[in-house]
């Protein structure tokens, strides 16, 4: 198992903090947004005497309420199309184990959420990347690039939409291109749509569940972690209209007995979160994104495409090596007593040598901290010894 790119520099961050520096954590997607009151209250008011197993597919009441939530956002699924899992992580693992055999291949546009690698390794699969480019804002790579990678071992394509780490939101047209490939080669299409609620500037997410003609091929991965700022609940779900997939996935669900009970109660209650909560959260993230992305782009030599969703961006820095730069920020730099921790983006690429000048940034801190973090980066680039000539929109990696 490769080390997670968001953790690689943790020892340096710890040393930096021990030395008295403030460290702005832009490396990890743990939002500071408060969990909705309805969810917290459900926990406080829990009146069970025994913390029993739930159904292996999750509480039926929760699955029914979830189906209603999906219907409300025009994703037409029933309770029986849903299996509650221990986080989106387990949903993807069950999906892989259900649809693939060891040594099979899954195609994933890179850069991608590094833990996909871990789930693939655990299921004995090989990840085959198709490279998206920062110059295009990480748009879907051309269909031909996918076609080139498809072999008799290819079982699935995996996407995250809106994307982690890029924040890119695939258009309906891009998804239809994927649909055509999936249909042509009879593959599964996994879509991790956990950032659905985080779309900006009026952009509307299009769910793979609404792609026509591949009903039996689509597997949706979801989670309450980001939506309700309850990452620690570890409650997600796997959704498919393919009965065979669901029945096989349920067997893996039965082997691990059930998803966590108390956290599931919180997740069920979270469905009653008022719409105003999301309005506030989205406005806040738009502000944060603007501070971060506009701030980065105003630094000479830095290029960061402006994402339409999620709360990440990938930025290219005018440095010899982003990992070295990130480590240097923690070890050797401070501005007004503070420094910044970012995740080097090479860990989000499966192809060796890519993303060497890129970092992933999670803009999950308050606006004031983000402003200070941007200022820190600006000052850092003035003195970083490995500073290179400008890396700009027109430069290639």
């Amino acid at each position: 198992m490769p080390e997670s790119p968001i953790r690689k520099l943790v020892p340096y961050a710890e040393k930096a903090k021990a030395s008295g520096k403030v460290v702005y954590h832009l490396n990890i997607g743990q939002p500071d947004i408060e969990t909705p009151e309805v969810a917290l209250n459900a926990i406080r008011n829990m009146d069970r005497k025994v913390i029993e197993y739930s159904h292996s597919a999750g509480f039926e009441s929760y699955r029914k309420k979830l189906a209603a939530y999906y219907k409300s956002i025009h994703i037409d699924v029933e309770a029986e199309d849903i299996i509650i899992t221990t986080g989106g992580s387990e949903a993807l693992t069950f999906g892989f184990l259900t649809t693939c055999n060891p040594d099979d291949e899954v195609i994933i546009p890179e850069p991608f959420y590094a833990n996909y690698n871990g789930f693939a390794v655990a299921a004995g699969l090989n990840v085959v990347p198709v490279t998206a480019n920062i110059e295009d804002g990480f748009a879907l790579p051309p269909v031909e690039e996918f076609e080139k990678k498809i072999t008799s071992k290819t079982k699935a394509i995996v996407i995250c939409n809106p994307g982690n780490p890029t924040g890119y939101l695939y258009s309906k047209e891009e998804l239809e291109k994927l649909r055509d490939i999936v249909k042509k080669h009879d593959l599964f299409l996994f879509a991790d749509e956990v950032y659905r609620e985080f779309c900006y500037d009026g952009a509307q997410p299009f769910s793979v569940m609404n792609l026509e003609g591949i009903d039996q091929n689509v597997i949706l991965i979801d989670s309450v972690s980001k939506r309700y700022s309850m990452c620690g609940a570890r409650i997600g779900c796997l959704i498919s209209r393919n009965k065979e997939v669901m029945s096989s996935a349920l067997k893996f669900g039965q082997a691990r007995l059930s998803p966590p009970t108390v956290d599931q109660i919180a997740a069920e209650a979270a469905l009653d979160t008022p719409a105003s909560y999301f309005d506030d959260v989205v406005s806040e993230y738009v502000e944060r994104r603007n501070i971060m992305v506009d701030g980065l782009n105003s630094i000479p030599g830095v290029f960061c495409p402006k994402p339409s969703g999620a709360f990440y961006c990938v930025a290219k820095f005018p440095v010899d090596n982003a990992e070295r730069f990130c480590q240097w920020l923690l070890e050797d730099f401070e501005f007004e007593g503070a420094t910044v921790m970012m995740a080097p983006a090479n860990g989000f690429y499966s192809t060796k040598g890519l993303g060497e000048q890129e970092v992933r940034i999670a803009y999950v801190l308050n606006q004031d901290s983000l402003k200070k973090a941007v200022k820190c980066l600006e000052e850092a680039l003035k003195v970083y010894p490995g500073r290179t000539v400008e890396s700009s929109k027109v430069m290639s990696a």
Copy 2:
């Protein structure tokens, strides 16, 4: 994935209940014992505003408190020897993924907890059974039986002690025999000791962590599910003094981010459960075991070894086929408006054809229900069409 033996008959049980029958559920190990108040109160009093990720190895405060618990029961481990997992299930999965490669073999004395199969399948492993016999009360099979099964692909031996489904408690001498095999062949020894607190008649459990000379080979699987009657919390742990194992297991832990936060808070608080709670629970289970096992043995033709631990027993019935008998009980039988659901034991054997006359019983109901269930079984055997000649202690399977 094979279907779990405890669920196979669920549709028949549902029909039985729909027809108005009372069904005594002896098929599943969900205790009716109340979760300790300290654990429930910790949930009710949770004052977090954000349900955040914990450390991937679990909250440090919890691991420290757990280490103190283990020390109190003479298992000398430190917080860094512990990774908190999503149930014992995940602990075993991480252990398998860490120590074995696809196609490797793990030896497990059968009958064994059927889900071990699921975790092995998910990790791409092959389970090689060594058969224990009901006539010996499911004692450890002779060392030669293990030796016969060891190949170059064998990576580990897995035991559950006290055992599910048998309730058998391995003696120190039996465990030392296993230690010798493990040492000789440099295997890993996984021990699932989640029923440690449930030992009866003064029997003392001996932990594999205290076997001398195989410090680096032992992996302990634990869980709060049974100990504190909080199966739904899905909080377990993996323990080993082997630093390489722990560092590799942690990477799988990082890929799934963290164990559930709120349930972890409950599990941490549960460590303050007063000793009197366990005294009461153990007395209750001894009564229940006696009602069940003595009751079964008083039925002509039924044989059930008396277990010293856990809350299961495996009994042999004078029937043509235990699965057919269990299904018949649900479909075609009732006594005073009630019937019994049991798990056919063939699903706990890996060798086809074994356990055909055996059932696993979980004695997790109140004493009155257990008495009625025994009576039900007695009456059922008087009229079951597939009743055979006596199956007794001296008869072989």
